[in-house]
């Protein structure tokens, strides 16, 4: 490890960075939030004053060092401030996913034992009250938005603004104590606790120290040369480690501005207004924006459409090379410049990507075409590979070495090795301290030398030194004949087709692979409209013969591409069905971050899987669904099962885990 053991000077906590930023960047904006139709902004000096008042108010309410403070809500300056204020008091912020139902929230609140809860609005307060009898340790609920809160009994409740006012008034009395606590914050004290969404089992509380967050922020900021002039849009859940690194760690390390959108629905518009220079979004986002763009272009005039198609084809040909600084002919450069004025510039502008200098995507594999699309427009979109336990960064792509199928080289300060089973291990200054109150899981994840098992299987490409991820290590299995079974790899290939939203592939220990497919309502619905195919519901659309034909075509293309890869040729899909409902986090089939929960799906749809393997032509089933308000209902359907063509492999399949 080449990272210094301590951070330069006294910068060993977020509050310390805040104090430094006031010195260096006092009049520069630290936060912006769109409210009442206008971007309101706060400088670093104003931010510090606001946070200090909150911290004094917290002290007045009796917040103790080591307390956990739960923070629930959308990205708002007030909530970010609450986290830093809690840190100033020596307490530990625990941001929670705001779309979690009360039930899920109860577990986390109970597990972390929070005494204080900071909630965004009435909706979140109501959720906490609903489960209040199961979390008796919650003493105080503080809320940001006063709306609808007047009739609540305020004995154990207060508005954040009032806490700030009390803090300002109490200033003299608590100044000293606050300074004492803030000065006492060490590099190995806990900075934040983040709960992993957990593809299996209960969420785990990942404890990250100041060292983890600050060292990671420093290294990653240097890697991409981030400065105080960056602008980011904070729109991803505050409970997610990425948001904490980008909007807290890097923002405080570099001193750049965090912009909070007006509401979740206005995110696209706000992105366009802010024009961030540094941007992160999951692959799904980049995919959706292309879908929207292409659907709009279908409705455009013929001339515009022709111009768009012409220049997009040109960008596809030379854009990536220009991006990577490879030689491109003068004539092609000129045409690209014209395209930039007529097409690429306006598209980038509409997508709010005009000023983007560095954009990242991660979380799952991104379709090569989607990836190339954005890069060909001149947007420096890169991939990184990370997890909560690593304070995000494990590997990332340096400028000029960007490809769709790798996740880059180890980030600065991070060591990566591949275990005997193909599992990826890493060790870094960002490596988490422990799972809170879960020594057993800590021990099974992190060994005595500090190596952490990622749970992902992958390998380094010999030529480039870039890491490639195949699948979750525990999901990589063997089929009945011993050949390698990597479901996620196949699922991702399927999901690259715009018509396919989700796919679940089965085959561990079986003689062949079969799949569930979820169609994408936007894309398939649009296709149906253009081809005069009528349908009354998602279920009906999903069951149409033409749709099944179309999906079968996609599956067969994937089979052909798999056959080309000796390791994975055995994973070709022999039979599939299109599900009659969308897989949904409310039904427990996906995690909140929209990852497939394989075990739950296997249990719930056991009858469908049986039908896939017993060669029946169709299957009837009844499925329970949960509506947004928690009520349950059921839908019944008869699903057709299709056989697909597979490509025979001449070479004998390689043994798994050779």
């Amino acid at each position: 490890m080449d990272a210094p053991a301590t951070s330069p000077g006294e910068l060993t906590s977020i509050p310390a960075l805040l104090a430094r930023n006031v010195q260096l960047f006092a009049a520069r904006p630290a936060y912006r939030e769109k409210e009442y139709g206008i971007w309101q902004s706060w400088t670093w000096a104003e931010t510090e004053a606001g946070i200090r008042a909150l911290a004094l108010g917290f002290l007045e309410l009796g917040l103790a060092p080591g307390d956990h403070v739960a923070v629930i809500g959308a990205n708002r300056p007030a909530l970010y401030w609450s986290m830093v204020a809690a840190q100033m008091c020596g307490a530990i912020p625990v941001p929670l996913y705001q779309d979690a139902v009360a039930e899920e929230m109860a577990y986390v609140l109970d597990h972390c034992g929070a005494r204080f809860v900071v909630a965004e609005d009435q909706e979140q307060v109501d959720k906490v009250l609903e489960i209040a009898d199961r979390v008796p340790h919650v003493e105080m609920i503080l809320y940001h938005d006063r709306r609808g809160m007047r009739k609540y009994d305020h004995t154990r409740m207060n508005a954040l603004a009032d806490v700030q006012a009390t803090g300002r008034a109490a200033g003299e009395r608590f100044e000293k104590e606050l300074r004492r606590r803030t000065d006492a914050l060490g590099y190995d004290d806990t900075c934040v606790m983040l709960y992993t969404s957990g593809t299996t089992g209960r969420p785990k509380g990942v404890v990250l120290s100041n060292r983890n967050i600050i060292e990671t922020s420093k290294a990653s900021a240097e890697f991409d040369r981030l400065t105080e002039r960056e602008e980011i849009l904070a729109y991803l859940p505050m409970a997610w480690v990425g948001d904490f690194i980008f909007s807290m760690g890097q923002a405080y390390w570099c001193g750049f501005c965090t912009n909070c959108p007006e509401s979740a629905e206005t995110m696209y518009e706000n992105l366009h207004e802010i024009g961030p220079t540094y941007f992160f979004a999951p692959p799904r986002y980049f995919e959706q924006r292309i879908t929207i763009l292409l659907i709009r272009m279908e409705d455009a005039g013929r001339l515009k459409k022709a111009m768009f198609d012409h220049f997009m084809a040109h960008a596809k040909r030379v854009g990536p090379d220009l991006m990577d600084g490879k030689p491109v002919g003068l004539w092609d450069r000129l045409r690209y410049r014209i395209g930039d004025i007529l097409v690429y510039g306006p598209v980038r502008n509409r997508a709010g990507m005009s000023k983007v200098r560095v954009a990242y995507t991660a979380g799952e594999a991104i379709g090569p075409e989607i990836f190339e699309f954005w890069r060909s427009l001149g947007i420096n979109l890169k991939q990184l590979y990370g997890q909560t336990e690593a304070s995000v960064f494990i590997t990332q792509q340096p400028d000029g070495e960007v490809r769709a199928d790798t996740v880059g080289v180890p980030s600065p300060g991070v060591e990566v090795k591949i275990g005997e089973t193909g599992e990826v291990f890493y060790r870094s200054p960002g490596t988490f301290v422990e799972y809170y109150k879960n020594a057993e899981s800590t021990a099974s994840t992190k060994d005595s030398e500090g190596w952490v098992a990622t749970g992902d299987a992958g390998f380094f490409e010999e030529a480039t030194g870039h890491l490639r991820i195949i699948d979750r290590a525990k999901d990589v299995g063997k089929m009945a004949d011993g050949s390698l079974f990597a479901p996620k790899y196949v699922e991702n290939k399927l999901k690259f087709y715009p018509n396919i939203l989700e796919a679940v592939v089965f085959g561990a220990g079986r003689e062949m692979c079969c799949a569930f497919i979820n169609i994408d309502l936007t894309a398939v619905g649009n296709w149906a409209e253009r081809n005069n195919v009528s349908y009354g519901s998602y279920q009906e659309l999903a069951g149409l013969a033409q749709v099944l034909d179309m999906i079968a075509g996609h599956v067969e293309e994937v089979n052909a591409s798999l056959a080309g890869d000796a390791m994975l040729a055995g994973c070709q899909i022999h039979r599939f069905l299109v599900l009659h409902k969308e897989l949904d986090a409310d039904d427990g089939e996906l995690t909140r971050t929209r990852k497939v929960r394989r075990r739950i799906i296997e249990e719930k749809y056991g009858d469908l899987i049986a039908a896939l393997y017993d060669r029946s032509a169709e299957v009837s089933t009844v499925t329970e669904v949960t509506y947004e308000d928690g009520r349950k209902g059921s839908i019944s359907a008869t699903l057709e099962i299709r056989d697909t063509r597979t490509v025979p492999v001449t070479a004998k399949p390689l043994e798994a885990a050779e």
Binding site: Y36, G37, V135, E139, R150, K151, D153
Partner: protein, 272 residues
């Protein structure tokens, strides 16, 4: 440490004040047809007052009498302690009575923002010429009005459709914009004509919450007509029941629900 659960009880902290409007012996005739016959009731400051009744009972006529569209043939209207002479609807509006309509009456081609701005029309003070030039007082005035309008947009959670022409919006959102426009006038009395007609359960829940919040946060007195009995009984403080132009019940939802005349006439349940 006792839990927070028992410590928190939602309580009604609103103050229901004196009489804001009193209708005395109102009769309304169109030629030979009597739409309203000798009805008297009052609306108290800060309450949610519902008017219910079967189709053709005269509810909308009653609302039109209150907002000055119709002048009653017989009877008196007392508003804020004074008898109100016959007035035009815009004069009534200037006195602080705003309303929404059963069949949404928005400017379809205009944006949400412009529609709500239009609701502040009665409060604009600068002249036509100054407004056209947008200088000095007109500019300051518009900025102040815009701020109020933005607060309403925030309150009704319609930021995402601020610049969308209302004609393109789904029905439920149009209803919300219309409520916004009425609120923009900062009314002392807000009249809602079937605010939940044609909505699904979720939209009705949203609208109920907005009505309650308006009443609670701004202390606005609300008089509403509604068909959905469940909603009316849930959110109103007092209910007037009409049938064939006559008043057949008046009281709290509980009292009204149990009155035999009401059960007979409106709820249609035979009692033995």
């Amino acid at each position: 440490m006792t839990g927070i659960a028992e410590a928190i009880v939602a309580e009604d902290t609103r103050r229901i004040g004196g009489i804001l409007m009193e209708l005395k012996h109102i009769t309304l005739r169109f030629g030979g047809v009597t739409a309203i016959q000798d009805i008297s009731f009052d609306i108290r400051e800060g309450e949610i007052r519902a008017i219910i009744g079967p189709n053709g009972a005269g509810k909308s006529s009653m609302l039109n009498v209150i907002n000055g569209l119709y002048t009653p043939s017989v009877g008196e209207i007392w508003y804020k302690g004074a008898r109100r002479p016959a007035m035009k609807p815009y004069e009534v509006a200037r006195q602080g009575v705003a309303r929404t309509f059963q069949n949404i009456a928005l400017f379809k081609g205009m944006s949400t923002l412009d529609n709500i701005m239009a609701g502040r029309n009665t409060m604009m003070r600068s002249g036509l010429f100054a407004q056209a030039l947008w200088r000095g007082r007109a500019e300051a005035e518009e900025i102040a009005h815009r701020e109020q309008v933005e607060k309403i947009i925030d309150f009704l959670e319609i930021q995402h459709i601020r610049k969308t022409p209302v004609g393109k919006l789904p029905y439920g959102l149009q209803k919300r914009v219309e409520l916004g426009r009425a609120l923009a006038a900062e009314p002392s009395l807000l009249l809602l004509d079937e605010p939940m007609a044609g909505m699904n359960v979720e939209e009705k829940e949203d609208m109920s919450r907005f009505i309650l919040d308006v009443n609670d946060e701004f202390g606005t007195t609300i008089a509403l007509i509604e068909h959905d009995m469940g909603v009316v009984m849930d959110i109103s403080d007092r209910v007037v029941v009409m049938d064939y132009g006559k008043k057949i019940g008046d009281g709290t939802p509980e009292e009204v629900r149990n009155a035999p005349e009401v059960i007979d006439a409106y709820l249609g349940v035979a009692h033995d």
